[in-house]
């Protein structure tokens, strides 16, 4: 019984530009409502980001504290052998490039009142800068480096140079060679003081267990944060769609196809999700830094914060915010677009 069906055509979906325009107008006019939806996203992402930032701060500060303890321990170990280093000159043989711990160690020596270094190795200019000009002599002759020093320090990542370690150590006051790494200088008469500590198996196991526990805790916290975020965002999106059932019904009466309605809500949720996530990330980082500043002090946080990791978290959070907003809009937008116009118009939400 479709006598005239040939005259009926399929309605075409409007170009995305029209949907963008309608959404833009909608957000502008319904600014108050859009802000409420936006706040749902902002708070969700801010919560997630503050937890992640908190985690990053705790890890950073923890690592910094551990490093400081370790450096203090090494200094104590060294001075136990050499006596006070104040106003002394230390002979240093650099076996290779310095790592962060070694740079900090050198700096700390300077801060503890060491007068100068007799330095053999190519990081002398850098050390000069770090220590505020405490290089006394840059030597090339191994025999002269130890002259008058309380002990000889071997530092840097590399193989030990071929040298007469007994002779070198013999010129130091304490006949001692302190090593920052696991070098094995061949000597019969000198005392080798390894400053780096070898971890005991039970200690290693404890650290591994600690790390694992920390990882599980992070996963748990992030899962919880994501869950709260999902609920916050879905709720905001669901409300913003359901309260517009009438408008959707009207649009369908005027000839809007389901795809257009869906497209509109996807555009809106993407825009709101992106803007809300950006704001949420900033808010979350600011809140977390402010809160942890009270515990650790702002200086400790600024010096130990792992910025690249924080940027990674921020990018991930924005991505999560947009994704969650879009996912949260799928159900209500799909529901709205499938609605029979008569039902949508009857809605009194």
């Amino acid at each position: 019984m479709d006598g005239n069906k040939a005259t009926i055509q399929k309605q075409v979906k409007l170009p995305i530009g029209v949907a963008l325009q309608v959404v833009g107008q909608g957000i502008r006019i319904r600014l108050g409502r859009s802000v409420v939806t936006l706040l749902g996203v902002v708070f969700g992402i801010a919560f997630l980001m503050s937890l992640l930032t908190g985690q990053a701060i705790r890890t950073g500060v923890g690592r910094e504290t551990q490093l400081r303890d370790e450096l203090d321990r090494r200094i104590n170990f060294l001075t136990a052998k050499t006596g006070p280093l104040k106003d002394a000159t230390l002979g240093v043989i650099q076996a290779g490039p310095l790592d962060e711990t070694e740079r900090r160690f050198v700096k700390l020596l300077a801060q503890n009142g060491l007068k100068s270094f007799n330095w053999v190795g190519n990081s002398a200019p850098e050390v000069e800068q770090i220590t505020g000009g405490r290089i006394k002599a840059v030597e090339t002759d191994y025999a002269r480096v130890a002259g008058g020093a309380p002990a000889l320090l071997v530092i840097g990542d590399g193989a030990l140079p071929e040298a007469d370690w007994d002779a070198m150590a013999g010129r130091t006051r304490e006949r001692a060679i302190a090593t920052m790494r696991d070098y094995k200088p061949v000597t019969v008469s000198a005392t080798v003081v390894p400053l780096a500590r070898e971890l005991q198996p039970d200690e290693l196991a404890r650290i591994t267990a600690e790390k694992r526990k920390d990882k599980v805790r992070t996963i748990w916290i992030v899962t919880l944060a994501l869950l709260v975020t999902v609920i916050g965002i879905s709720n905001a999106m669901l409300m913003s769609v359901t309260e517009r059932f009438r408008e959707i019904g009207t649009m369908k009466c005027l000839g809007a196809v389901s795809g257009f309605i869906r497209q509109m809500f996807f555009i809106e949720s993407t825009l709101l999700g992106f803007a809300g996530s950006l704001a949420g990330v900033v808010l979350g980082i600011a809140f977390s830094i402010a809160a942890f500043s009270i515990t650790y002090g702002p200086a400790a946080i600024w010096s130990s914060l792992d910025w690249p990791r924080l940027v990674l978290y921020a990018v991930m959070s924005v991505f999560a915010g947009v994704l969650l907003s879009v996912v949260a809009a799928i159900y209500p937008a799909g529901f709205a677009s499938r609605m029979v116009p008569a039902t949508a118009l009857r809605s009194t939400v």
Partner: protein, 258 residues
């Protein structure tokens, strides 16, 4: 399924009096709403023919199935049983995109609560169905201005619905209903939210549009004034069409048939 001439004439007879063709036909339409286990029979087998260019009023108390009938013959919902033909097409056979096309071009809707899109200006509301029909925006703007002039609202095209009075909003909605030059205008209690003077103006406007544009107007109404301008009036009660009359057969003083 193609119809032969006889089947076609049987299904869509010409009105004997006017020679005009049947534009909407509802055959034994039933509509049942289900809420959990409870069933509400909103329509219990309504059959009617509406002819091209006719001004038909549907009367009935609230809850009588008036709005449901209105939705069924307007392609806004599908009947539980029975057939609805709009411009000779069985709407049950149309997919959602085809229904959207039909609603966009064949029918204009006017609602009791205007249902303008609040975030759009008056002229943008009128232009929206034209965009859905694929008209470019220049052409749509010109046509929308023409329609706003026709309904007497050409002096406030850029106002938002919230900045317009009830009567002006309904004028805007009528202009929007006419956007794609539909054959049918469906008006669901168009005067119910207006004061009686503005309501009378709206009735006059619809009657003028019917005369000048030749559109078929179907109005669900309570308004006795609306009946006087109609070509035909149907009464619906408890989901059934109970009476059909011409305005001259009604004694408007008493509200009863002569």
């Amino acid at each position: 399924m193609a119809l032969d001439k006889k089947q076609y004439d049987d299904l869509f007879p010409e009105n004997e009096a006017t020679g005009r063709q049947c534009i909407i036909r509802a055959v034994n339409v039933r509509k049942t709403y289900r809420a959990g286990k409870a069933e509400t029979h909103a329509l219990r087998g309504a059959t009617l023919d509406i002819f091209d260019g006719e001004y038909l009023s549907i009367m009935g108390p609230s809850g009588s199935g008036k709005s449901t009938l209105f939705n069924m013959i307007g392609g806004l919902g599908k009947p539980t049983e029975g057939k609805v033909y709009i411009d000779q097409v069985d709407i049950a056979q149309l997919d959602p995109d085809e229904l959207a096309w039909l609603r966009c071009r064949k029918i204009g809707y006017v609602f009791q609560s205007f249902n303008l899109i609040n975030v759009m200006s008056c002229i943008e509301n009128v232009m929206l169905p034209m965009s859905f029909a694929g008209l470019d925006s220049e052409e749509a703007r010109d046509k929308a201005m023409y329609l706003l002039k026709l309904v007497g609202l050409d002096h406030r095209p850029l106002h938002k619905p919230s900045e317009l009075s009830g009567g002006q909003q309904q004028r805007c909605a009528i202009a929007r209903a006419l956007a794609n030059s539909p054959q049918i205008v469906l008006a669901d209690e168009p005067t119910a939210n207006l004061d009686s003077k503005t309501g009378a103006e709206m009735i006059e406007l619809l009657a003028t549009l019917k005369r000048s544009l030749g559109v078929t107007i179907i109005a669900a109404t309570h308004d006795l004034k609306m009946l006087q301008t109609s070509d035909r009036i149907l009464w619906i009660d408890d989901g059934r069409i109970v009476k059909s009359a011409r305005p001259e057969e009604i004694d408007f003083a008493s509200g009863h048939l002569h």
